[in-house]
Structure formats: structure tokens, C-alpha cells
Amino acid sequence: MPKVSVESLKVGMKLSKPIVNDTGMVLLGAGTELTQSAIERLSAMNIAAVHVEGPSSPLMSREKLLSDLDARFRKTENEPHMSDLKRLIKEHIEELFK
Amino acid sequence: MSSPNWKICSKMEIPCPRKNNLNTVVVVTKDMLLCSLVERTLKDVYNLVFFSNIESSLDYIYNSLPHLLVLDVGKGEPSVISMLNQLKSDPIFGQMPALMICDDVYILPAWDDLLVEDFVRKSAIETDLMLRVNLCMARSERVVEVNPLTRLPGNIAITRQITGRLDKGEIFSLSYADLDYFKPFNDKYGFSRGDEVLKMMGRLVLNIVKNRQPVNSFAGHIGGDDFTFIMEPDLAAETALEIMDTFDRIIPTFYDPEDRVRGFIESVDREGNKRTFPIMGISIGSADNVERHFSHYGEFTELVSEMKKYAKDSSGSSFKQDKRR
């Protein structure tokens, strides 16, 4: 049940969680299949991302995630335990793309 | 305006440090002329802290409890008055006197709806402000019948509550709560820490009771570690349970780490023998006049005491309610 940015929404995708407004009123229920006009309305409402049904397809590509991981571990990956930690996170990222 | 002992408070900074021994007065007004007039009048006698609206003063007040609040209500904005009343409804802050400054055209409401100690009209400020401020200070120093530790109503008020309700034919429940093993705690950790526990207990009982029943409930501090509360009969049991549960969760932090971990303290009993005492708990006894009829408040209080004694016989925090009919 990944969260997908509104720009990446495609017609036919189904909402896995309802979209509610500030006062708690449900605007679009869970299970709603998105039409073009619905997507346009969501984008006009300044909503950044919504939950859709389907396999996990996160906002970023696997390559970007892994290269970011490398970049932030660059300074300390040779310190005790850090390479293990990095490995575990890397494995976790890989799982998301299976 | 750059007098040494005050400045208009920016949102982020605490006011300048106090001058020695002067009482602190919080002044709330948007009117700059009034500001400088008040400052001129009071600056040599009091530490002054200025705010332009009541919301921004609340944080300071709730953190520091000034000696007096001077509040400009102008023509009587309802939101300002309601915020003032809310502030004064808490026992600790209810004791802080409030002096209202109002426009000459303001028509004063019934005093029950406006919890101030005194007022002064704008046209009378030059002549009367200092006198009224001093009078408020003096008045608040006179003895008011509250428990000095917890500021909760004391015995006189408690008795009045019970007899008053009985006279009106009201159906209510009365509960007594006290602490188990409070004395050994005091002996081991000293009275200062014992007082902290009592103050915490006061806030606890008051707020849980008020939360469960915002209207027509009552919480009082009889003395020492004895507290009492009055509620609608249906609410007594769940309130008692919440008080016990919350107390059990908070009380460990008042113990030193080693004792906290062990779950008991070592101290001496009344005969001077070394003994271990478990972490404090609460015993609560409760009764109501749903089925019973009490012609004298003493009958009621005696029954509740009996229930509490019964509760004390069980180990740990416990609650016993009279169910005999």
C-alpha cells in the first residue's frame, strides 16, 4: 500500500486509504478508482501524495535510494558496526523492490 | 520607555531579573498610554511585566505565578473575560489576585461572571491605581481557608460542601483517599519530599475529578495525606480507579533509583525497629446516599471512613465502596 506522489498517479489506480479533508469529511473513499478529473482535482488541492493499492513502488528509484545511502555512510562506514548497519539498511531497501 | 526593571515582553524572552524582594505584577494592555501611566505609577514599588494581550501572558503566569494580574478589559471583550475566568478557576491561580482596569462606559456584570478581586476605571487611574494594587496585595495575604500545600479547600469548606448538599436533598457520593506508607517515606526522605508528593496528589485528585465531572464535583484536602472528593454516585468508582492507577504510575519517580528498582524502602517503624516498606499506594473509601438516608453529615463521613479503613487492609492501592443497602 505505497504512498504515491500526485504527479505519478495514473488513471485506473485505486485508492487504498480514503482521502479526508481538514474537518474529517471523506472526499474520496478507499477503493475509489481514479479518473482523470479526480487526479486533476487532487493536484489542484495541493495534496502531495496518496495511498494507492498495488505493489510497493516508492517515490524514488532503487538506484537513487542506494546511491543516497552510499553518500551518507561515506564518512563512517569503516567504523565499528557501521558497515553492518549499512548492509542491513541496504537489504531492507532491496526487499522493497522485490 | 527604558526603565531598568521591565520591558514589553517579546514572545521568546523571560523578563529582566527581579529586583530583590519586590512583588511581581503582570500588566496586560494594548493601550500604550495606559502602559506608560501604569509604569510611572508602579515602577518603584513593584516588578512589572507587560504583555499586550492575555494569551501571551498565560505562559508566563502558568510558569511563574505573579503576585498580581492587572488586566485591561477595555469595553469588556467576552473572550478576554472568559480566559480570565478559566485562569482563575484553577486553585493555584485562583489565589492570584486580579485587578481589572475598565473603560468608564463599561457596564459591570455580576461578579460571579467576572472573577476579579477589584476594579478601577480608566479615569481614576492616576488617583486610585496604587491604592487598589496595594489593597489587592494586602487582601491576598490574609488567611484564606485552603490547605497551604495544595491550595485545595480545607476542612471548613469541606464540611460546608457536605452539609450544604445534604440540606438541599442532593444525591451524591463522598470519598476519602489517603496514602499508604506515607510516614516511612517522610521519615526516610524528609518532609520536603513528602510535601512534593502531597502537592502532586492534590493536582492529581483535583484534575481527575474535574475531568470526569466538570460541573458540581468537588475536591478537598482535609490535611496531611487525607484527601476527599464528591461526585455523582455513578462516577465514583471509575474516578477512584483512575486516581489509583495514575498515582501508581507517577509515584515511583519520587523515590531514589535504588529504592525504585527494589520496590521498597528501608526505614524504622514506630518502635524503632528496622523494617521494609513498599512503595506508597492509595486507599480510597466511598459511600453515597442513593439508598441510604443521612440526617447528619457525621453519619455519612463515618461510613466513608469505615470504607477507607477497609480499603487500607488490602495491600497496594485499593478502593472499597459501600454497597450495603
Binding site: 542491513l88 | 521568546m12 474535574k210
Partner: protein, 277 residues
């Protein structure tokens, strides 16, 4: 500026500002006369500034038991609904450095969740206590950037340009870092000793005498959340974990895997896989 002076300035801070998103939600909650203690408690617990504010008030000598309370739910019961509402009314908003602050909020929240997950995994009796410490561990950054906004912008720029850790950059500029600033505030505001130490030693957990395990968990939560790239703590690198503290916590690879998975699930709403904002 010398340290003495710096400390005086930091201790003068009466109240910290929060981010606009939080303020909007706060106003809604306060204005609702039927908001329950639980609702308010959960909301306050999710924000480092509101939490610090509530703990400051309840630990004020005015109430009579300073230095005892480190739980938000307990604090709210002891203060009462009226006091809580009144006190939250004066909350103000951070207008400078919004982007960085949003990132810091997410980082702090991430650490709070991580600490709770780890504490529960280790069967610790009071997970909330560690979680609060983790939520508040970077409160010193909020204080420093409030008092010295232009300087702090430079400090953050330097972490970028010189590839530094934020605490290195702070130290170069101020001679102290955010752990010190945070600990000064915590002491000034009468927070319980355990909380003060967890904040003070979150980069040097082995120095904590009273709560080595708590400090270790807060420290490791910080490392972990930065490792996952969640939020923005002021720099772009994962700091090294203190080996002794890591041993003290004693998580196996399997445990760690579980923690990471659970953490990502709980943080899902905050886009865990997107980079720092």
C-alpha cells in the same frame, strides 16, 4: 562569543517556537471544546517543542514537584485541561529557516519512534521515558537557531561545503554544540535528571552516569534514523555509533532487521524513502 555568555543567552529563552504545520493542528485541537486529554496528549507527544513546553510548566516550582515528571500524559493530568489549553495558546511559529526546521521535526519524531521500538524490543519497563528523551534530544538546535539565526544558517552551510557533521560545525563556530545547549535548557526548565543526561550525552553516551542505557538508545536512534535518511538533522552524514553503547543495547542482526522494518512501517506516512527535505 564566550561560552559563559552563550549559556546566559540560551538560558534566557522562555519558550521555543514550533513549525507552521504543528501550529495549525494545535489551534484546531485547542478550539475544540470536546478535545479529550488523550487526543491532546498524543498530539503534544508528537512534537518536540510542545512536549518541552508541557514538561517545563509541570516541572516549574509553582506546582511543587520540580524535576519529577518526564511523561507527557502524566504532565497533562497534573496540570489539568484549563492550564494546558491556556499554556498552548501562546505557542508561536518559527518563521526563519522553515525548510531546515521541517526536516529537524521529522528527524526528532523519527528518533522518538525508533527509541520506543528499540525500548520495547529490549523489554524496557518505561519505553515512554526513552522515547521522550529521543524526541527532545535535538532541542538545542532549535534554541541555537532561535537565538542566533544568521550564525546558524552559516553553520548549516558549512556542514554542506566542508562535509562536516553538524556538531563539528557548531563547535567550530560556538565552541559548544547543540547537546550542550539542549542540556542547559533542560536544566533551566527543571527537567528530571534522566532526561537532562539523555539530551546532554546523546553524542557521547558512554559519559552518562545515571542512565547509560537510555543515553545509548537515544544515541543509536539518532544514528539509525539518519542511516535511513529520514528527516534532516543538519548534515548529510550518518555519525558513527559508539561501540560500547551499541554493545550495551545488545541488538542482534535479526533484532535490528525487525526494528528497521517496524520503524519504516510506523513512519510510512512521512515518506520514509524520500531523501532529506
Amino acid at each position: 562569543m564566550d561560552i559563559q555568555n552563550l549559556r546566559i543567552q540560551i538560558e534566557r529563552i522562555d519558550t521555543l517556537p514550533t513549525i507552521p504545520k504543528v501550529l495549525r493542528k494545535l489551534l484546531k485541537i485547542i478550539e475544540n471544546p470536546r478535545a479529550s486529554m488523550t487526543e491532546i496528549s498524543e498530539f503534544v507527544s508528537s512534537d518536540p517543542v510542545l512536549t518541552s513546553r508541557v514538561l517545563k510548566v509541570v516541572n516549574s516550582p509553582v506546582y511543587g514537584f520540580p524535576g519529577r515528571i518526564s511523561s507527557v500524559s502524566q504532565a497533562l493530568i497534573l496540570l489539568g485541561l484549563n492550564v494546558v489549553r491556556g499554556m498552548l495558546l501562546g505557542v508561536s511559529v518559527f518563521e526563519v529557516m522553515e525548510k531546515a526546521m521541517n526536516g529537524l521535526w521529522r528527524h526528532s519524531l523519527g528518533c522518538a519512534v525508533a527509541a520506543r521500538v528499540i525500548a520495547k524490543k529490549k523489554g524496557i519497563k518505561e519505553p515512554e521515558e526513552v522515547s521522550i528523551a529521543a524526541l527532545l534530544h535535538d532541542i538545542g538546535k532549535v534554541a541555537l537557531s532561535l537565538k542566533f539565526p544568521e550564525d546558524y544558517k552559516i553553520i548549516i552551510d558549512n556542514t554542506d561545503k566542508q562535509s562536516l557533521f553538524i556538531f563539528e560545525s557548531e563547535k567550530n563556530f560556538f565552541s559548544v554544540n547543540h547537546s550542550d545547549a539542549g542540556s542547559w535548557i533542560a536544566q533551566r526548565w527543571n527537567f528530571p535528571r534522566n532526561l537532562i543526561e539523555a539530551i546532554e550525552y546523546h553524542h557521547k553516551p558512554h559519559l552518562s552516569k545515571t542512565v547509560p542505557l537510555n543515553a545509548a538508545i537515544v544515541h543509536f536512534s539518532d544514528v539509525l534514523v539518519r542511516g535511513l535518511g529520514f528527516g534532516f538533522a543538519g548534515d548529510h552524514f550518518v555519525p558513527p555509533v559508539n561501540p560500547a553503547s551499541f554493545q550495551l543495547i545488545g541488538l542482534s542482526d535479526g533484532d535490528l532487521k525487525d526494528v528497521i522494518t517496524e520503524l519504516e512501517d510506523l513512519l510510512e506516512d512521512g515518506d520514509p524513502l524520500s531523501p532529506e527535505e
